[in-house]
């Protein structure tokens, strides 16, 4: 973990509530891996909001990284109002990374809403390791869809304005029904109800699945003990989402 500052060198507005920010920060891009996140202080000169906000590292290119920013409250709004040239305080890279090993040949990425954030960099790392990648993206509506750097995308929208009309999990289920399942691994990120529904599906199909959690965090680096996730093995108690996670195998946690 490093405590540093980053310059905003690019900003893209995708919709009224969705932005891409490009942050120049070689100290972080040098060591960050797919699945890790940063804690950003959205307002350095003020104690409102007090705590930093966590964001997945979405993409890395040379000295800069990107975050996909969805405005949901005061902190994310303040960050969305920053401009090119502004500086923000950043802690990172934090958390564990996605596990890319030899147990699978095809990766199925499942994203709900802004849960798509960690997948561009994951796609890049998977392809560098010679994996096939199949991507499923769900959003409320067409304007909230983000597919940059992703491959083999199948999209779904809750309102049917684009792609499959329904949930992303329904879309994945339909796909799995028609696929020869061999050496698959799922990677998922999104709202808890989506992860729960996916959990039922992968349990039923006995598939390997890793999820990236968005548990609320105060510190992001293991000192507050606030971000606990219940482990299935009751002898082990709680894990910390920020340090032991944010990426967990879906069958080791209680969602």
């Amino acid at each position: 973990m490093l405590s540093t500052t980053a310059h905003i060198i690019g900003k893209n507005k995708i919709s009224e509530t969705l932005y891409i920010l490009m942050l120049e920060c070689p100290a972080i891009t040098r060591s960050a891996k797919a699945g890790q996140f940063v804690m950003i202080r959205v307002n350095s000169h003020s104690i409102e909001p007090l705590l930093r906000r966590p964001f997945s590292i979405s993409w890395i290119d040379g000295d800069y990284f990107e975050i996909l920013l969805q405005v949901v409250g005061g902190g994310t709004r303040k960050l969305s109002e920053k401009d090119i040239g502004d500086e923000v305080e950043v802690l990172g890279p934090l958390g564990n990374s996605f596990r890319i090993d030899n147990t699978f040949e095809t990766a199925i990425l499942v994203a709900g809403g802004v849960g798509v954030a960690p997948f561009p960099i994951l796609t890049k790392e998977l392809r560098e390791r010679g994996k096939e990648v199949q991507t499923f993206i769900g959003a409320r509506t067409k304007s909230q869809l983000y597919t940059q750097h992703l491959v083999n995308c199948s999209v779904s929208t809750d309102d049917g304005t684009e792609g499959f009309h329904g949930t992303v999990v329904d879309n994945v289920r339909a796909y799995l029904e028609n696929t020869e399942m061999q050496k698959l691994k799922l990677f998922a990120c999104g709202p808890t109800p989506m992860l729960k529904a996916l959990g039922v599906l992968v349990h039923h199909k006995k598939l390997n699945c890793e999820v990236s959690l968005e548990t609320e965090m105060a510190c992001g680096f293991g000192i507050c003990q606030g971000c606990v996730v219940q482990l299935k093995d009751s002898n082990k108690g709680y894990a910390l989402a920020c340090k032991d996670g944010p990426n967990f195998f879906i069958d080791e946690i209680v969602l």
Binding site: I47, R52, C219, G237
Partner: protein, 317 residues
């Protein structure tokens, strides 16, 4: 401008490098930030509260942000004294700062057992006793709300150690000075205050309390004026040193506590926002002293120019 200012601070036989510490439960066990933290710039680390057996703590959600503060109900989650000794202490011994272990317990016997276990190993420089814990024998009544119970705990622990003993006080009482006096009378070397204030937050969309335990403890800049007044009050009531805690976010905040009567300060919640903040504050205090030709940081302690009317003092003492 002075070249150097004396920064050290002594309790019993232990000399701390300076008067800036990190508060219990807000810096983990001290080793989490090992690769970025200049430990030699700190007076010391106060560990997460340790109990005899490991504790998982309360179910989530157990920490939420509130206006300029944080509300938590971590519930004294900790790895227990044995795991601390085996997994953490060997690392802490190498860190080049003083280690103060904070102890929490649900009975007087448990306080004694944890302290005795720590007495048998090397690497602990002092103890801080968290009395904001439910007393199981007394039906869950908080130890820290009773001067008698605080006196008993202090007396029993004092008999068992020659090391500095700091009793950490809860502000959730009517007369905090009474509790401080009880600790001082039974031989505490210092008191520290404040622990968190009881608070609550509600999600208006779901109409549920935001914490799983409904209420919790408030900390952070929001509580600073309250903490400052408590430190002022207690420092008038006892002659032992006071550690000031509560919402310290800047060098000025820390100076206010020293001026109000704190001999040393602890930085808590703000470590979450900036893990290096305690070091920045220690450096800032040195600089303030140099610029103002203050030879010893200790000269600031209690030097606030405040004329309290006798009637107010009477109600406190």
């Amino acid at each position: 401008m002075l070249n150097t200012t004396r920064t050290t601070f002594k309790l019993r036989n232990v000399e701390f490098r300076n008067r800036v510490f990190v508060a219990s439960g807000t810096f983990g066990y001290g080793d989490e930030v090992r690769n970025i933290f200049p430990y030699e710039k700190l007076g010391g680390i106060i560990t997460k509260s340790l109990s005899l057996k490991p504790r998982a703590g309360n179910p989530p959600p157990r920490i939420v942000e509130t206006s300029s503060g944080v509300l938590n109900s971590i519930g004294l989650a900790n790895i227990g004294v044995e795991a601390f000794i085996h997994a953490k202490l060997p690392v802490l011994r190498t860190l080049n700062t003083s280690i103060i272990t904070n102890i929490a317990a649900s009975s007087v016997d448990e306080y004694c057992a944890v302290l005795e276990r720590l007495e048998s190993v090397n690497g602990v420089h002092a103890y801080e006793i968290n009395v904001s814990c439910p007393n199981v024998k007394e039906g869950g009544l908080n130890f820290g709300t009773s001067a008698t119970m605080v006196a008993t705990i202090t007396k029993e622990l004092r008999r068992r150690t020659e090391k500095p003993l700091i009793v950490k006080l809860t502000p959730n009482v009517t007369h905090i000075a009474d509790i401080a006096r009880a600790a001082a009378h039974e031989g505490a070397d210092a008191v520290s205050l404040i622990n968190t204030l009881i608070g609550m937050a509600i999600d208006v969309h779901t109409r549920r309390a935001k914490l799983s335990t409904v209420t919790g403890g408030v900390s952070g800049p929001a509580i600073k004026p309250i903490a400052l007044a408590k430190v002022f009050e207690v420092s008038k009531a006892v002659s032992i040193p006071v550690f000031g805690i509560g919402g310290i976010a800047t060098v000025h905040d820390a100076l206010e506590f020293l001026l109000a009567g704190a001999s040393a300060i602890q930085v808590g919640t703000m470590n979450f926002v900036d893990p290096l903040i305690a070091v920045r504050i220690a450096d800032g205090i040195d600089e303030y002293c140099r610029i103002n030709n203050i030879e010893d940081v200790g000269m600031l302690v209690g030097s606030v120019n405040a004329n309290l009317s006798n009637s107010i003092l009477q109600t406190w003492l």
